[in-house]
Symmetry: C2
Subunit: 392 residues, 2 copies
């Protein structure tokens, strides 16, 4: 079966062929993807539903199309099934994957809401941080050298070589926002603030160092794109989706992105609605650190996990990485190619510009931070909110 | 052609079949390997000669046999041809490789001497450090994210997944020598010094951290086993051989091992013959840093190499890794499974024990060192030589 993009008709045929629906079933099908990277078909018959996701051989992210390996569909499917070994309750179930068609058939989560959308609308997801802290601690620990025999980990690493998607992160997160690259996108009113960043040599040095960590530190299987748009939520349930950027990388990368996206949502909210975001930021780290510690003590494969004094140093390094990666993510989501609806969606123009200036100052503070604890998000949020505009 | 170990007869037949010798040529063949991991045939006809190296499916390193993937022969051949792109003058030429037979046919270097043997016999190789500094700088730079596009580097990394051989390093270099493991091997007279190491929590914490660097930091294509026994030398020429441990890892690993082996040779020499070793240690780093700097400025693929202030930090990190890895190597070569002839070959028993105690103190000092410069090898050599035996 050679690759070709599915249509609603061929998607239905596939769903019946793999036996999820009988040949006679009356089904409905709608394509619900944003069409940039993937086709996403929602197929239903009565109470039963499935999602069929198919990778497209290009991305429409930079105006024209950008070729992207179809293999990312297999990476995504393999990542979901790997994560399901450790946190089956926090990822959609994969029913079927076809590498040649770049198709994955998976659990229908249409009763849930994308958490970014919900948070923007003021929804409360009281278990979000509990679930994401657990997700990250378990998936990262069990695919790291602390919780997976080194030989198995090296082999697994070899199955998640993901150069195309990593290049997107390398360019759009770490390089382009820190210099005058044509992929950047921001309001003309931000020019002065942007040039201030670009002339900040200490900041760009940190960006270089965090890019290098992303390029070289193969610590564990990251989701690779764990922002609030990659998480379905309800008040009681959380599901992490879309790990097509999955590859081995620094343990702190995923939570850096998640906390950055919570912080950007906080920036976009009225002052009296922010506390829940700081609660989630702080609780995510608390749950992560506690869960990781428990696994370190009970599920370790590495002899040196018994070494007195090592765990605190490991957690300290992970935390420092989270903070730095969060800084990069906030900056790139404000002035780089891919924005967040939390900030872009602010209706009042002056308020939006003020929010984005705040985001740039917060991102800078986090990327430059050293030796902090989790209260840094709350503290730097306040410190960078109050600061007067600085002339470049 | 299914795998089977070559004999002298089938090795000759292979050499003729690949056309290196005519079918009629009168050739001689002798097996010159140590028989532990590989068969090595030296085939000659008049002035012409070749080496045929074949991997065995086991290693005889721990008394009984230890299964090892034959794929290491392909890793070795691929590493040699990758290195040859950058330093053809410093590696043997590969004429032929057959993955299924785990056979590599390569340049005959029998006019040269293994540098460990030569150094033990008091030979002088004035260009050794110049050549090895150049070898490491070029092979590591051009396979790192500084000198190879990230997408290409991620793909290359995926072709050097080498779990079996890495496990040998993980266990025998980083874990076993730092605890009471049965693979360790040392004279009963060293028991007290060994137990002092094993009760040194700060030292074991550093060993854990350097093991973790080896496990996770995929910075560049390492040789993986760059000791003086993996280097052929003459007064004018140097050839690096045997990269079957090649995999992506920390840039400082190879030179850590090389400098450690020079230091152990210095320990084994009379005091008035040591200066050449310190010269080589210091010149290796000097040549490496200068060559790496030139490549950083002229052959970079990473935009951030233009970032003011980054190169000094990168070199500082590489240097710190070299020193720490050197410390691990000296300790494991003294009390671990695989020793060096430099120390084991000291004829006088008391002198040998004194040399090994010195090695343990030097290894410990290097593994604990922070913020040093290259004079640390000379300084700590002196400091650890003079120190009185300490009661555990």
């Amino acid at each position: 079966m050679a690759y070709q993009p599915l249509t609603e008709e061929t998607a239905i045929a596939l769903a019946k062929e793999i036996g999820y629906f009988s040949q006679e079933a009356a089904v409905t099908c709608s394509e619900i993807g944003d069409g940039n990277l993937n086709l996403v078909f929602h197929i239903r018959s009565g109470e039963k539903g499935i999602i069929i996701k198919q990778a497209l051989p290009y991305a429409k992210v930079v105006g024209e199309s950008w070729p992207l390996s179809l293999r990312r569909a297999t990476i995504e499917s393999n990542a979901l099934t790997t994560f399901a070994k450790y946190v089956p309750e926090l990822v959609p179930e994969v029913y079927y994957h076809n590498e040649e068609l770049a198709v994955t058939v998976m659990e229908d989560l249409s009763h849930m809401t994308i958490s970014r959308k919900g948070l923007i609308e003021g929804e409360d997801y009281p278990l979000l941080s509990q679930h994401i802290g657990t997700f990250s601690a378990k998936t990262l620990f069990y695919t790291s050298d602390f919780g997976l025999e080194a030989q198995e980990k090296r082999k697994l690493d070899g199955t998640f070589v993901n150069p195309d998607l990593c290049k997107i992160t390398e360019d759009l997160v770490f390089t382009d926002p820190f210099g005058n690259y044509e992929t950047n996108s921001y309001e003309p009113e931000l020019q002065e603030a942007v040039e201030e960043l670009w002339s900040d040599e200490a900041l760009k040095l940190r960006a270089a160092q965090f890019k290098y960590k992303f390029l070289t530190r193969k610590e564990a299987l990251m989701h690779g794109d764990l922002h609030t748009g990659s998480i379905f939520a309800t008040p009681t349930e959380t599901k992490v989706i879309d790990p097509e950027f999955a590859t081995f990388g620094p343990i702190g990368f995923d939570l850096g992105h998640f906390l950055a996206n919570l912080a950007m949502n906080a920036i976009a909210r009225p002052a009296d609605k922010r506390e829940i975001l700081f609660y989630h930021i702080e609780n995510t780290w608390k749950v992560f650190a506690e869960t990781f510690t428990t696994l370190w003590e009970t599920a370790e494969t590495e002899a040196y996990t018994k070494q007195t004094g090592w765990l605190p140093l490991v957690l300290e390094d992970i935390f420092a990485d989270i903070v730095g990666f969060a800084g990069c993510e906030i900056i790139r989501r404000t002035i780089g190619l891919a924005h967040v609806a939390d900030l872009d969606g602010i209706a009042d123009t002056e308020a939006k510009l003020a929010a984005k200036r705040h985001a740039l100052r917060l991102g800078r503070a986090l990327l430059l931070a050293r030796g902090a604890d989790i209260s840094i998000f709350r503290k730097e949020f306040a410190a960078t909110q109050e600061r007067k505009e600085v002339q470049a």
